[in-house]
């Protein structure tokens, strides 16, 4: 199995004035291609910090992080932006769509930063919106969409640049249960189609659907369970 993510003895220390908080205390994690990993843990466990580091939004204080064969720890802001653009597709709890842009334009955004031509951007974004069954909502603005639809636009945006990893942070947290279920089943479809997914949640019902559940507590992995395949 290819190792897409490899964390070795990752520590993250936040210092606020004289107080030092160890968010991650020597964490090791490997994620292989086409895995569907749920990271669970109570709030304050360090799972958000882990998510930020996995998503290259933040860098570890010490330890190494290899993403798709590339050492990420210690890269500068511009290189990290490139890696996020190429390897990571983010799905947030609060969707984080640009409010004044249409669904299509929101999905095009990562391609804009990847330097893709306008025509190709449009085609790929439209295809991806079709993929999440929003082909008829392309010109709608986020305010004209339901929560479930907004999250599907966000997923289309996350996937449009064919990321190595889809990184989702409580993707169903702001949705009613029916919409949430639709999103979860979309994730299963994507996984079945070969997409590597890392999902952060505190909903054990959703975590159960993943092929592997990693439990984080006090900045360390306390449990790592693979579902029988």
């Amino acid at each position: 199995m290819d190792k897409l993510i490899e964390l070795r003895d990752v520590r993250k220390v936040y210092s606020t004035g004289r107080l030092e908080v160890q968010a991650l205390r020597g964490l090791d994690l490997e994620v292989g291609r086409n895995e569907y990993v749920a990271i669970v843990g109570p709030s304050g466990s360090g799972k958000s910090t882990l998510m930020n580091i996995l998503g290259c939004l933040d860098t570890p204080s010490s330890g190494s992080y290899t993403l798709s064969g590339e050492a990420v720890a210690g890269l500068d802001r511009n290189r990290l932006a490139e890696i996020r653009n190429r390897h990571i597709g983010f799905v947030f709890q609060s969707f984080n769509l640009l409010p004044y842009a249409t669904a299509l334009e929101n999905v095009e955004l990562p391609l804009l930063f990847a330097g893709v031509s306008a025509k190709e951007r449009r085609e790929r974004a439209a295809a991806m919106l079709d993929r999440v069954e929003l082909g008829d909502r392309m010109e709608h603005k986020p305010t004209e969409l339901s929560g479930g639809q907004m999250q599907r636009v966000a997923i289309a945006r996350a996937l449009v640049n064919r990321p190595t990893i889809l990184l989702a942070d409580e993707p169903t947290g702001n949705l009613d249960s029916a919409s949430g279920k639709a999103i979860v089943s979309l994730f299963e479809e994507l996984h079945a189609a070969g997409q590597t997914i890392v999902l952060i949640t505190h909903d054990s019902g959703i975590a159960k659907l993943a092929s592997r559940v990693v439990r984080v507590q006090d900045g360390q992995i306390v449990e790592d369970v693979r579902a029988a395949a």
Binding site: R84, F90, N96, Y100, A101
Partner: protein
């Protein structure tokens, strides 16, 4: 996305901060108007004063024979020096780097045409006098020429106001006027010119005749004054010194005796004006710039607010792969656009004002402010610099946002 989205984002910002954006743009507009109008007025005034200067002549020196104030070679002081045409000939011979013209004049000769009688100043001089004093004949006429001198012709060249008084709107060239009952042929009329200073009345009210004719008619031998002009303005002091030397030798007075020949060097004024207007223009530009800087601070301020409001959006963009430099460029471009809008509005106001100004009829006093290339270049350069500085700091703050922090803000 791309540019379309950029403008849409801007419109979004403008809509969310309507009043503040409007006031900001107004600040830039006002600053632009201040800079461009002040510089334009400075230029117009300078052009006006320089034109007035030219009316007397450019870098000419006017010399009046007077009395000696120093004893010289046994001759006491207070001796009267009288200059003749022969002296002017000697000056021409000995000082080739300048041109000279003597002038005689009369104020008690009467011009008569039909029932109009006028007693203007009559100036008798040589053809180059006109060139030195910027006396330009209007179309259809000419100034006194060498042939007029040789043949002592009775021809007259009229100042434009004198012509108007004698002939009204009628054509004057080719007509005859009587000067002390002697018929004179009008050969030319002066083109209207601006003249702020004179030493015997403005040229517009004078009559000019050949000096040879004048000498014959009035049996006058001595010049009232003479003027000279160095071919190169910077040689004026040198030429002036030589003039004293030549005349001192011919008339036996101390070459250091500046009172024997009184002189008015108009190039002195030129030097004064060069310094004065350099300072004046810089002063106006600085005052205008301060106004524009205040406008720039307003723009910078509103951009900080925009960055604050869009923090989350910046976080999203960073998360999906926008490089910090891209974010910075976006805000810089937005600031420059706001500045440019204000600048264009300001320019339009200025152009509008400049279009209306000539109708006020103040040209004679303060000149006509002009949107010269200097005005436009100064204003544009200032706007660009201020826009860049105003945008730089908020844009930099935006680009330095930590994506984790930016995304967490609700």
């Amino acid at each position: 996305m791309g540019s379309l989205s950029f403008f849409r984002q801007m419109l979004q910002d403008v809509r969310q901060q309507k009043l503040r954006t409007a006031l900001t743009v107004l600040g830039i507009t006002w600053g632009t108007v201040s800079v461009s109008l002040l510089v334009a007025f400075g230029e117009g005034l300078e052009a006006r004063i320089r034109a007035n200067q030219r009316g007397l002549g450019e870098n000419i020196v006017i010399a009046w024979p007077s009395r000696t104030s120093l004893p010289w070679e046994g001759l006491g002081k207070g001796r009267r020096i009288r200059i003749t045409e022969e002296d002017v000939e000697a000056l021409r011979r000995e000082i080739p780097q300048a041109r000279f013209s003597g002038e005689m004049s009369r104020e008690n000769s009467t011009f008569r045409r039909e029932r109009v009688r006028i007693t203007p100043e009559v100036s008798a001089n040589s053809p180059i006098f006109a060139a030195m004093r910027n006396i330009i004949p209007a179309a259809g006429g000419r100034y006194v020429n060498d042939l007029d001198l040789d043949r002592r012709r009775r021809v007259v060249f009229l100042g434009d106001k004198l012509k108007q008084d004698l002939f009204g709107d009628q054509e004057a060239v080719g007509q005859t006027v009587m000067l002390d009952n002697v018929p004179f042929l009008v050969v030319g009329v002066m083109e209207k010119k601006a003249q702020d200073s004179s030493y015997s009345g403005r040229d517009e009210g004078k009559a000019f005749i050949p000096d040879a004719t004048f000498r014959g008619l009035f049996s006058e031998r001595y010049l009232e004054n003479f003027i000279f002009q160095a071919h190169d303005a910077s040689a004026t002091p040198d030429v002036t010194r030589k003039v004293y030397e030549v005349l001192a030798r011919r008339h036996k007075f101390d070459p250091a005796d500046k009172e024997a020949i009184g002189m008015w060097d108009t190039s002195e004024a030129e030097k004064f004006f060069a310094i004065f207007f350099g300072t004046f223009r810089a002063f106006l530009a600085i005052i205008g710039s301060f106004t524009l800087v205040v406008g720039g601070i307003g723009v910078s301020n509103i951009m900080y607010v925009v960055v604050e409001e869009r923090t989350r959006e910046i976080g999203v963009k960073l998360a999906v792969g926008a490089k910090p430099a891209w974010i910075q460029r976006q805000f810089l471009a937005e600031t420059l656009t706001l500045t440019a809008v204000g600048g264009v509005c300001g320019m339009l106001v200025t152009f509008g004002f400049l279009a209306v100004f000539p109708l006020l009829g103040l040209d004679e006093y303060v000149g006509t402010p002009q949107a010269s290339p200097l005005v436009i270049a100064t204003t544009t350069a200032l706007l660009g610099v201020i826009g860049m500085i105003a945008g730089w700091f908020p844009a930099r703050r935006a680009s330095l946002l930590d994506p984790v922090v930016a995304l967490k803000l609700a």
